[in-house]
Symmetry: C2
Subunit: 471 residues, 2 copies
């Protein structure tokens, strides 16, 4: 451990100038000079290739650096993106990534990169859904359900409160498109929704590294996180649906609220019910096909179809992708000739597309917005709300003798899903550049502090219950 850490530090300390220089050179590479070699009108593909090269290299490099420091790779991808996008602050000529930072996107290559990132998100949520199963959710029981419910309600209310404290006017970009009666409460609700979702991957990793995945605390957290994902998606579906309606001039009505909640629940429930009934039959048919890659393509088709249908029902595509993952279970693929797990097949596609999303999120953070000190306040407020909100959910543990602090801390990391919500908020214009940056800071901080805090609380707990044992 010591050696690896030293190694990482050396990697970290001695190379930044070199890495930084290369990034700067790549960022400054004029894509225009190249297009001349192609022929005719501007072909976006060379620039797409260049952007992919830089983005994937930064994702892997950033991920590697932070993993060596014991942090999850996603953090390195985000931070790498923040550096790439903000190189322009050091030298106005390092503007290669600017086309990715304007809304709406104008340039063909930026549209393509953003689409790759969004396909990545759909595949990521599909993977998250695959990890969860309906049976698993039934099994974890009442404690997980209580923890999850509190873990959605408390951060939502706290996030609403922080937004109400700090955000006093509608951002100009949003004001330009909404009718006069548009209420600030929509923005508060959206920010509350962003704070709901737990990113359990990080916590699961820490428990696994400490060889504590089988403890009751770990089981409750993992169960709660799955239910939390479902509840968070429903809250998100309702809030974003209300905002879309409000932006087109419809007043906030209890009826609309109930209808949206109904659609979300019916969609998820219906997809689950139909899926559980139909999927085994469909898979039986597909298993008789002979061409290679049937398993992968039919799963992707299924994920894309539910994502598309979610949109038809007015929900976000990710809700459909998650439902698709929830429905598909390994067991349906037994008859297939490819003797390989579905996760293994999806993984390379995800490894290619998902980091593009996180680097892009980083690129879209505008460091200059922090000059406005109000934004640092929002970021601090959101981070505190995110942490406190999940501590409250420790109270939902029904069994006695369990460590509520560990459970609360385990639910803290926000990670992927919060970011995805925030990016959709940016698209809906309820979240402006400054607030988006604040959300990214909240995600980075909660993800950063959770692993060390978790190690501390687990050690403290085990010392207390067994004084002879050393951490």
């Amino acid at each position: 451990m010591g050696k690896a850490f030293f190694c990482a530090m050396r990697f970290d300390m001695m190379r930044p100038r070199k890495i930084f220089l290369s990034l700067a050179i790549l960022s400054a590479l004029p894509s225009a000079s190249y297009a001349a070699g192609g022929g005719g009108d501007a072909d976006p593909i060379p620039t797409v290739l260049l952007a992919l090269i830089v983005i994937l290299a930064v994702a892997k490099l950033g991920g590697e650096l932070v993993e060596r420091l014991g942090m999850p790779a996603v953090l390195g991808e985000l931070l790498g993106g923040v550096i790439l996008g903000n190189l322009i602050l050091l030298n106005p000529r390092w503007s290669f990534f600017e086309p990715l930072r304007v809304t709406p996107l104008q340039t063909d290559w930026a549209v393509i990169i953003s689409a790759l990132a969004q396909l990545g998100v759909i595949i990521l949520l599909f993977e998250v859904g695959l990890e969860a199963t309906v049976k698993g959710m039934m099994k974890v029981g009442a404690s997980s359900l209580m923890v999850a419910t509190l873990g959605v309600v408390a951060p939502f209310l706290l996030g609403f409160g922080v937004s109400w404290l700090f955000i006093k006017e509608i951002p100009p970009e949003l004001a330009a498109i909404v009718p006069p009666g548009f209420s600030l409460n929509y923005i508060h609700m959206f920010i509350g929704a962003v704070l709901c979702a737990t990113s359990v991957g990080i916590t699961a990793r820490v428990f696994k590294d400490l060889n504590r995945l089988q403890t009751k605390e770990a089981q409750i957290i993992l169960g709660a996180a799955v239910i939390d994902d479902v509840l968070g998606l429903i809250v998100f579906a309702v809030v974003s649906g209300l905002i879309t309606a409000a932006e087109s001039g419809q007043p906030l009505a209890v009826g609309a609220f109930l209808r949206l909640a109904g659609v979300a629940i019916v969609f998820l429930g219906g997809a689950l019910a139909l899926g559980t009934l139909l999927i085994p039959k469909i898979m039986n048919q597909l298993a008789r096909l002979r061409t290679a890659g049937v398993m992968l393509i039919s799963s992707l088709l299924f994920a894309f179809t539910l994502s598309y249908l979610a949109g038809v029902f007015g929900l976000a595509a990710i809700v459909g992708a998650f439902a698709a993952g929830l429905i598909l279970e390994e067991v349906h693929f037994r008859g297939f000739r490819d003797e390989i797990h579905l996760e293994q097949l999806i993984q390379p596609v995800a490894a290619f597309l998902v980091p593009i999303f996180f680097v892009l999120m980083g690129i879209q953070v505008r460091i200059e917005t922090f000059a406005n000190s109000g934004i640092l306040g929002v970021a601090a407020g959101l981070t505190i709300a995110a942490i406190l909100g999940k501590q409250i959910c420790g109270l939902g543990v029904l069994e006695k003798g369990l460590d509520r602090l560990t459970i609360g801390v385990g639910m803290v990391p926000r990670g992927e899903v919060g970011l995805i919500f925030a990016s959709i908020g940016k698209y809906l214009k309820v979240i402006d550049d400054a607030t988006f940056s604040a959300v990214v800071i909240m995600v980075i901080v909660t993800t950063l502090i959770a692993p060390p805090l978790l190690k501390l609380t687990i050690a403290r707990r085990e010392r207390a219950s067994n004084p002879r044992m050393r951490p």
Copy 2:
């Protein structure tokens, strides 16, 4: 076999109406009605999802149907695309795929789908390169080299001749952008180049199915096809470079020709030499990284980087992707913790992206151009030139007692690479819609006839050398 065939026929005969109807319904789905649910300005992602669903479903369905008939899956993907794209001839309202058929592409979603297809082509050529190794090319010896050289020169000359016979004027779209001195010979040269590349996958599959991969004939064909790929890419690089230069007004000069040939050879040779020296060292460094997916991402990075650099040198991206595959050998990955073959990791990404390209090529075929009977003549001429040209290369076999007819027939299928060249020709405007359709017909016919012909010649040969053996 009999039963499978019957099964396939039943599948083929009874379902078309149902399949056809579903395709029509999907094609008619108005993407606009959906966008309203999203919010704000038009988000291309729902339409991208819908297009991906239809394209991947048709690719798998078409691939499956033709594989059951003993044909390669790529043929089904192409034909499926032809049906999808030409549904509009039956009903003007089935126009969903029209945005993919205009050059240059205008709509965001079409730009995204086309970019996915192009990334697919880069990954496909990378895979083709991975299958070949420098050592393997050295080993196959003089016969393969002679067969490959004749197999490039003869189809080039015949293709040039057919184009010279049929194409008597510069297409209007091209005429509008080129200087007055632009010679028709460029078009003839390009069509000659399109006829060069052998698609050996199909032949390899037939030999494998017949359990004849170890025969001398099979070895010569496989070796020749690899050298053929390299020579074809060089011819293509030179011809497309000359055309790009001519389109910007530079006269055809022996100097330019030699310079382009030099760049292509130096690029491929330099990439090979540098790659062979540096890649093992770089891979050793990468093997020390800990994050998951290092092997996949570093290979993709390498392929993308060489593709981009090829463009910087004025060559097509696919030349770089092929060189990247040629350089990377399994052996470089020995130190990696992922205990899995590189091909296995690339395969899911390819399975997702590559069929998009072939369906798109089919979609871009305009059946109505065949009403112009001249085009059927061009198609017939090209097909005959493609077949004859590869028969000539049988003469390159130096050893006595080998079956030259089998070798010639084995080199007939054009498949992927010819199509990729044609699609670039369309982009350069040297190939118009009608000629593109003719090239697609040539690819379909050569791919269709090769497997049964090959089975015939192998059986004939074995009957001749061993009269007691029955086929």
